[in-house]
Symmetry: C2
Subunit: 681 residues, 2 copies
């Protein structure tokens, strides 16, 4: 895709076809002509008259595997185009250049989009100008509900297609045409999952829109902007990505005060020791303020982006969810059910012990490393040869290899564990998976530092280690995340892509398939969290941490933006209302930081010296530190309780949405229940 967008800058030439195919918002008429004529045999027909439109916007590309014979493809296109009441996805499908090609291009008609908007629980602007929970029956009262490209964001339109595909379930036992007899679908089987398993569908990914992408990248990272175009990011990539960048932005600016204070202290550090303690106390309280303010900002963004009222738990369960068929007591629909206690039991008896085992392996690895290091040093002292010199590095290398291997194995194990826990909602699945990996990664990153701080109690070593970690990890991250993908794209993938110049329309779509998959926001968030850990847990030993992080993050914003726009396939992300489990992780860290900082302050040689001079015993100093710690935690808890999690005006808007739905219930005579009661009589 990077080529397509690059070309967009050059008028004429190869840029034109791209605009014709992808640039619906700008060149709508051109594209509609194109989709009606040049594509053979064209888009599937829509079933309802209100959705009939001359313009069809290609949104999602499905890549078929070797197994998909033309018969299967025809069946698939028919299935995708069939109305939902007949078990189809209610979407629009286009077979690509010809019926035998291995791609299907998808789009969605208005009715499907609007119904899914209601199902997802998205809020949209009502004709009064307020955000209201969207209701299909009331669609005419919502602004722009006749123009899908304004009413829904690109990310929402594309996600809805994935949502509909994932929701496809076999209405009866069925053999997939063109496939061997072994590939049959049982009733209520998830069709899309099955098609992936048998190799018919290899890939499903949303298409980039070159015009919008160009517009976005110009206002995001090309110039010297201080602010990010967050609404545009939300429009293009969806609220998950937009929340990440909003948080990155917010967090970076919030580093300014500790950075200034850090510089100030670094300058005056020789004159007054109390400044260090002041800085530590300031950091500890600052982290709570930042997190509370972020919660407010987050709820404001969620309101703006219409995700305040998501109704995931009322929607269909996620594709991987399985259970006995039954009536959902909440919604009254027939769907697979899985008892809560069984899930809790699985978590308690399987997940927790396994995660604990891996954490134990991390500690074991660390202990082996220390033992081996001591052993090798002792050997080196004994022998003092070139060989023993090289041996000195063996434990470190082994430890790094071990840690990396463990992390890889753990990731697979965590995924299976979370799959086994059988969560009903996508977000619950994500949160549990993220939580598991997060605990491990965090442990993996901080075990050594904690060991130095609490067992070795060696503050200078801690300082040295922290400074080197800060600088090295940041460099390594930037290189692995951006430089390597950039080089791979430029010198390996790009020449490969530009070969097929003869068929640019289809190639544009196919080319996006050759880009690597976006690795997900997990790595980005964990990077921030580890940063935040360095800053909050150990900041009092190295006051310039905030300065280094501020500098790093200012470049990180741009490199992350460049990366997601240019180097990867466009990812699917569901609409979300917040950062989810990450917020909790940052909050926990901010409380742990009080304990660690108080301990480090207690260890600081200066304080030890001062207190000895003042004739305080070690016990007194310890009691003092414990009291300071308790007071700080109390202050943080009170601050967190006192600062409201959402601004007053958002609270009112949210309550208004709740009130409206309550009023609706009251004004309505529930006819469907009346019918049942009449039957009963």
């Amino acid at each position: 895709m990077s080529k397509a967008a690059d070309d967009g800058g050059v008028p004429g030439g190869r840029g034109e076809p791209a605009q014709q195919l992808g640039g619906e918002a700008a060149g709508g008429k051109l594209a509609s002509k194109l989709s009606a004529s040049s594509f053979t045999p064209g888009w599937t027909k829509v079933s309802c008259p209100c959705c009939a439109s001359e313009r069809v916007e290609p949104l999602v590309l499905v890549k078929l595997g070797q197994k998909a014979v033309p018969e299967t493809k025809r069946w698939l296109i028919k299935l995708i185009g069939a109305p939902q009441k007949d078990g189809g996805a209610g979407l629009l499908a286009h077979p690509g250049e010809d019926a035998t090609g291995n791609i299907i291009v998808l789009s969605a008609p208005r009715c499907t989009l609007l119904r899914a908007t209601e199902e997802l629980g998205l809020c949209k602007i009502y004709h009064t100008g307020e955000m209201e929970a969207f209701a299909y029956n009331d669609r005419d009262n919502f602004r722009n509900s006749d123009n899908m490209e304004v009413f829904l964001t690109l990310a929402e339109r594309q996600y809805i297609i994935k949502y509909e595909l994932d929701g496809l379930r076999a209405q009866k036992d069925l053999r997939i045409p063109g496939l061997p007899d072994s590939c049959t679908l049982q009733k209520r089987d998830n069709i899309w999952q099955k098609l992936g398993q048998v190799g018919v569908v290899v890939d499903t990914f949303p298409l980039h829109n070159p015009d919008k992408l160009k517009d976005l990248s110009e206002s995001w990272y090309s110039g010297n902007q201080l602010t990010q175009p967050l609404d545009k990011v939300n429009e293009y990539f969806g609220s998950s990505v937009a929340f990440y960048f909003s948080f990155l932005d917010f967090y970076t600016w919030s580093l300014l005060p500790p950075a200034i204070l850090g510089l100030f202290i670094a300058y005056f550090s020789t004159k007054d020791i109390d400044l260090h303690n002041l800085k530590a106390v300031f950091s500890m309280l600052w982290s709570t303020v930042v997190i509370e303010l972020w919660k407010r900002r987050s709820s404001t963004l969620s309101y703006q982006w219409g995700t305040l009222n998501l109704a995931e738990r009322f929607a269909e369960p996620r594709p991987g969810f399985h259970g006995d068929l039954g009536v959902n007591p909440v919604t009254g629909r027939v769907e697979p059910l899985f008892p809560e206690w069984k899930r809790d039991l699985r978590m308690a008896l399987v997940s927790v012990p396994v995660v604990g085992l891996f954490l134990g392996l991390v500690v074991l690895g660390m202990m082996c490393f220390y033992w081996a290091e001591a052993r090798v040093k002792w050997l080196h002292k004994d022998w003092d040869s070139m060989i023993s010199q090289t041996f000195l590095y063996v434990p470190s290398v082994l430890h790094i290899v071990y840690t990396n291997m463990l992390a890889t194995v753990y990731r697979t194990v965590a995924t299976s564990l979370t799959e086994y826990e059988n969560h009903r909602e996508e977000s619950a699945y994500d949160n549990h998976l993220t939580g598991k990996i997060l605990v491990f990664t965090f442990f993996n990153n901080f075990a050594v530092l904690f060991h130095i701080a609490f067992f070795k109690q060696d503050v200078p070593l801690l300082r040295k280690r922290l400074a080197s970690l800060l600088i090295i990890t940041q460099l390594v991250n930037q290189v692995t995340e951006v430089v390597i993908p950039f080089l791979v794209d430029r010198f390996i993938s790009a020449p490969h892509r530009s070969e097929r110049e003869d068929d640019p329309k289809e190639d544009k779509f196919r080319n996006q398939g050759t880009l690597p998959t976006f690795p997900g926001l997990f790595a980005e968030y964990i990077e921030l969290l580890v940063q935040f850990g360095y800053l909050s847990l150990f900041s009092c030993v190295f006051p310039l941490t905030a300065v280094l992080l501020l500098l790093n993050n200012l470049t990180e914003i741009r490199s992350d933006a460049y990366k997601i726009c240019k180097l990867f396939r466009k990812p699917f992300y569901p609409p979300v209302a917040s950062m989810g489990v990450w917020k909790v992780a940052f909050e926990v860290l901010s409380f742990v930081s009080v304990v660690s900082n108080c301990w480090l302050l207690l260890l600081s040689p200066r304080l030890q010296k001062t207190s000895q001079e003042a004739g305080m015993s070690g016990s007194h100093l310890l009691v003092g530190a414990v009291m300071v710690e308790h007071v700080l935690i109390l202050v943080k808890v009170i601050m967190a309780a006192l600062i409201p999690d959402e601004p007053d005006w958002i609270r009112k808007k949210r309550e208004h949405i709740e009130y409206t739905s309550m009023q609706a219930l009251r004004q309505q005579v529930r006819i469907y229940s009346k019918r049942i009661s009449l039957k009963g009589k």
Copy 2:
């Protein structure tokens, strides 16, 4: 009222009239004849045909003051009887024995009750057997919605009358008939509040129902029941009272494990010291389990009693609330508005400093007491006479007087502060007032103990003080709460009441007015909280605490039940969904207990001796204690997070209620908004 209920046991005699007037559920026909004939001129007419009923149940008594001339009374009865759309209360009124008497008896017609049920957001049983949020429009689908005495509890019917009276607002500027010209009502003035201020209405209280009361008391405290009839308590006194007794019950039974452990340890204490530490750790974790389980029980009760979905914040503001008229952004109604930031400012700049000042005065008093005690002891040593002997008691007496005066002043100050904070909802007002008094009372009760534990570090003194406090406060409480009111009632009030034998019907009502007002649940809750404080904060120094408390509470249940049934007027209590701020107080205490217990364990002479024998320094011991404390707090936090606050089936029911209201919103085309949009075109 105690007499009336006592009489109920004797067939014939004075018991009959009581049954005729109050015992509607049982003697419905008798009473209806009575209300139609013997009362002159009888009940006001109802305006809507569906509410016309032969039976009217007297629910609430209004006592008029000296200022209320017959003209005023007639106006008042008309106002109360007028439909709500004409600015009336939509209730039924009866002028008592004659038009010049100083009482008005109130009841409510079906429509008013049902509409208020909707407004309060009560849940009732739908025809499907599920609890659903009641909707007036859908009333025919709710079970028993034609029989108010089954559909609503007695407490709910009575509270609704108070709710309607409190909601009376002047529709235009108005002179109150029969009163001097100075007593005028401005538009939107709260009428009932104003009538109270000018002395027209002296008292408004709900009437006891002798039959139901007799039934309740028999199943509650007369026999040797182990369980309380909580549903009946909820039916008769409302959910606030029922929640108190449920909690008392739950808490008492939860004392069993620590009491058994305490007895066990007291028996084996000489043999093994580790048992004490075990007991302390057990108590600390036990308190979290108890509170979490109570939350689950509480939500179950709330579901049973239909208060899961209360809609207070969408209802009219409470009577004392004032502000500039404006459009409520949530409900769109015109009502007084008061900005949130102003309230926050008032709390931060006025309430917090004033409360802090009073806490400071408590500490100051304690310090003066210690100073004076030392001074007097020194004087006594010097002089050693009878006079100096008596002087020894002066500081204690002065301190007690000072503390009590301070508490009285503080209560007044706290009420004005909370009034000044201008909360919109009754529950917010209650919670803030309770919170303020709670902090002070708690401080007042525990300051001395904390001083002994943390500053004097004198464990034997603490143990002595704790044991005496436990026994003395319990005795004092039982005496002041039950014995004194009982004696007053029996020997002072009762003879006074029985004088007017000639007019029993009216006297039954009037007699209830001579009973003292119920002092509220605050004193009951604070007693439990202080108990819980003794138990959780200092239990490790006196292992028999739980045993003493268990014994106390078993009698407390009965005496409290007797008290509320017999010794006081029936109180008004709004439906509530939980214990409110008290739950938080118990939770906070349970966390503070970890800190205090770890400290006390550290101070314990046995541990000090053992560690010295083991060659541990004081610092090591301290670090150990701090680590244990942190781990315990972590375990408590994790336990609190892991135990769900509501049982799975309640969560599903609640989600079902939410889902239904969301579905209603979706299925409904909002015509009222369409009308506006059509007008706009």
